[in-house]
Subunit: 533 residues, 2 copies
């Protein structure tokens, strides 16, 4: 029997001392629990992904210093940990096996990533040598990230007849992860006929959220041990090939998962960037209601501030809804009527407009006044401004640059409007009462920037728009194929045209967490200048 | 003797009919001039780079349709042209040789690019087969872009003893292009001992500007024929191996080149995106003076509008300077004092700020009011807002999000402040009088957002800042190495810290043309969330 523990930690990129403290504490805990092997995730010391910080010599040196300290704290315990490794002036993304203050094995990542989130090839040299580990009569193999899906590695593993594989990863959450990533892990476990100990990072980092969900997969391709999702965890697994483990499974409730991912993402973006609080423009609509709720769950009611900024076009019912939401969340809020500011600016610029009529100029002006006020509160009090836009709007450009597009973090950037209603229902269900009032669900979505405005003046209903966007953005279907799903070719083309023509807005949008496999702001690469659309 | 002509065209991405008209007109011109071979650049039909438009089936089909039309207009003339090519459901980035309405040769690009500007590998399949062309007793070889630097290709060329190589390209301008790109071309010509006919695109496309500068390089590695820079050109070269051609050279005047690149970039961004005019916030400082001058050169004085927006902190001399600049450029301008708007907003939000003092909040507020007004004019009249920020500010985050960071196009985004003074001198020299008044050069740079503010309150003098930024951003020097150039380690580290900590602003900045080899907004990949800096 071997006692194997997972240290599923949430490091902060570049926070070496804080990260070391976490690592050290987990090692102590493991020693106290007589653990044989303690496993950490990929690049646990520096955090992941460090990007161009890896080009800073002092960054790498600091990581190597901590690495030595970790090695020296492994008396009577084996520790497997992901770290930067430097050899002959090259750096590697490596997995170390320490025992009794000695290095027993080093594995350098073979298949370096080069995607829009992390271009490992820019910094790291490729590993090549494969060598299994021996420890207490067990033979096992270290791997990193998606190396475990690589033929060269699995062939080696099969040949060597090892007892288990340890995989250190930093694989972010995305909605289809069960289907795409975990199922692959199950397949690999079966194909190599071996246990896999998969240790992932957890926590938010800019545009990704690591979900944790570290686990043990049996040679039958089943999960037999599972760590928590979206929080740090210390889990001990008693490994004995003879035991018939009970099968577990990863949560499949998409709404719950996304809710947790978003809360985790806000919490970490705020704390890791040394903010203490966030501010949200609360309109009485569903998007801002959900953002305020997520922020409250992430930061606590005392650290979230609502700003209600009605204009002449805001319905009284929207304002009272907005108040109700803030009151239900027990967050501080202020009401600032923007009418006076709007009319002052308008009086000054209108003479220049000659006899031109009320148009999008005046609509945007209201939205931008709100942006200015939110930013003033952010500057004065140090609150992070949370953007409230959603993926449906952002994809079609249905938002105002420097207006509702402002903010430090756009938490709903990758969430379709129709899914936001599901999140709102979930929020009410968890709260046990209507935090978000019923009317917010039933009223027609509107920006309320002109009289009787409705989103459907510009966009098709979200129940039609969202599936079309999904087919286009995520399934990469041709317009013709999308139309075959039951939409008019004209509508499909109109929407795709909107997607292309609004690229200039997305280029200036705040960052936010990737939630779907194909987040438009990372996976799509659209020219602004083009005369095709 | 062979009459070879260059069709150095400026296509617009996706403007198939417009691009075809250009191609057709150049073919007629060539026929009229009894040209034997007419050469176009890379992807001349679709424009370059089409990015995700290549995933649209209708985009590819439209390109192939035009390709057929081009082929059918080659009676009695050979045409070499870059185009999308489709075979067995795969698409290639290809060079075609047409003659008498027939395809004589197709070359599919071998080394597909995968950089931050264009990820060709995402769309195109790789070419492999190499086959020289024969035409009128000449043996030659087609290549595309940087394929010509590839060993496999040059070895083939050497073996086949050809008469010349035709290279179709879409290589953007950058300051060091002579040193990095053209010198390589010279070397290759010598090493393969052959003439190279290099045909480039010209014109602006989002974040790049193609400079044209198509040329003939002799086997001695010398330019013997050269097309214009930054404009379309039709050039005929009479090719005869026995002639001893006179050597020419590409312009080496960096200020002139950058000036032309920026003018071309504005002109094309505006026209290709169907704008007719641009608006610039003119402050009386050097940046906005240069932007207004560039815009006037690009669009004509009737299509550029100046907006002068003094606040209580603007010096009278700045306002009069701003007026003088607009008057010298003969552009329309308006003056809108923002004091009234500022005090209205301030009166409304100040009570919420309790007894907190005047700080960056009030500074940013002024800048953001200007942003709102510029955007209102843009919305009402359809002017493109030209951003006036420079690379020094942007690198250090010395700018206001949603304030002076707004705009559709940030033309000086990759130009250091010290270089802007050189551009301003050049502008005055070309004009033959002080378009930009003397005082603009001599006064200390200031954002004028509080009393007696100077840029040097926050930043080191630009004469110190710019070289440090350059060493760091372009030469990728370690802080230690930069310090050795004669700066204090503390200062160098302070600046690098500013670069990292302002990444969140750059993420929301407008796009603008890349001018240096290592434009910070494309080449650097910095995490926002990090505790190292």
């Amino acid at each position: 029997m071997l006692k194997i523990a997972f240290a599923q930690i949430n490091p902060t990129v570049g926070a070496f001392d804080k990260n070391y403290k976490k690592i050290f504490d987990f090692i102590q805990k493991a020693k106290f629990n007589n653990v044989d092997i303690l496993i950490f995730g990929e690049l646990s010391i520096s955090g992941y992904p460090p990007k161009d910080l890896l080009l800073q010599e002092d960054f790498v040196e600091k990581n190597l210093e901590i690495l030595k300290k970790v090695k020296n704290s492994t008396d009577n315990i084996a520790v497997v940990l992901g770290s930067i490794y430097k050899k002959n002036d090259k750096i590697y993304n490596s997995a170390f096996l320490f025992y009794n203050k000695k290095i027993l094995n080093i594995y350098n990542k073979v298949n370096l990533l080069a995607n829009s989130f992390f271009n490992e090839k820019k910094y790291f040299s490729e590993g090549s040598a494969l060598k299994y580990c021996k420890f207490k009569n067990y033979k096992f193999f270290l791997t990193l990230g998606e190396d475990i899906f690589c033929k060269k590695i699995t062939n080696y593993i099969k040949k060597e007849k090892i007892d288990f594989v340890i995989n250190l990863s930093a694989i972010p959450f995305y909605l289809e992860k069960n289907k795409f990533f975990y199922s692959n892990l199950y397949k690999i476990a079966k194909s190599i006929n071996s246990f896999i100990f998969f240790c992932n990072l957890v926590g938010g980092q800019d545009e990704v959220v690591f979900d944790g969900n570290s686990c043990v997969i049996s040679p039958y391709g089943k999960i037999v041990f599972l760590c928590k999702s979206f929080q740090e965890d210390f889990g001990i697994f008693e490994f004995d090939k003879k035991i018939n483990y009970k099968q577990l499974s990863i949560c499949n409730d998409k709404v719950k998962l996304v809710y947790e991912a978003l809360v985790c993402s806000i919490r970490d973006y705020v704390s890791k960037n040394n903010f203490k609080s966030a501010i949200v423009g609360v309109s009485g609509g569903i998007d801002s209601a959900v953002v305020a709720s997520l922020a409250t769950a992430a930061l606590g009611k005392n650290n979230v501030f609502g700003l209600i900024m009605p204009s002449r076009f805001s319905l009284a019912s929207s304002v009272s809804c907005a108040k109700k939401i803030c009151e239900n969340l027990k967050i501080n809020y202020k009401i600032i009527d923007i009418e006076n500011i709007f009319s002052t600016i308008y009086k000054i610029i209108e003479p220049f407009f000659l006899d031109k009529k009320f148009d999008v100029t005046e609509e945007n002006l209201q939205s931008r006044i709100r942006g200015i006020i939110l930013m003033a509160f952010s500057n004065k009090f140090g609150h992070l401004v949370l953007n409230t836009g959603n993926k449906s709007e952002l994809s079609c450009g249905y938002s105002t640059l420097y207006g509702d597009l402002i903010g430090g973090f756009a938490i709903l950037k990758d969430i379709y409007k129709t899914f936001i209603y599901k999140l709102a229902e979930y929020i009410n269900k968890v709260a046990g009462f209507l935090v978000i009032p019923k009317i917010v669900f039933t009223k027609a979505p509107s920006a309320e920037l002109r009289k009787n405005q409705k989103d459907t003046d510009t966009l098709p209903p979200y129940s039609i728009l969202d599936p079309i966007l999904k087919f286009y953005l995520e399934n990469n279907l041709e317009p013709k194929m999308i139309a075959k799903k039951g939409y008019s070719v004209k509508l499909v083309n109109k929407i795709i045209k909107m997607v292309f023509l609004s690229e200039f807005k997305r280029k200036q949008a705040p960052i936010g967490p990737k939630i779907t496999y194909s987040a438009i702001f990372k996976q799509k690469d659209l020219p602004i200048t083009n005369n095709f659309f």
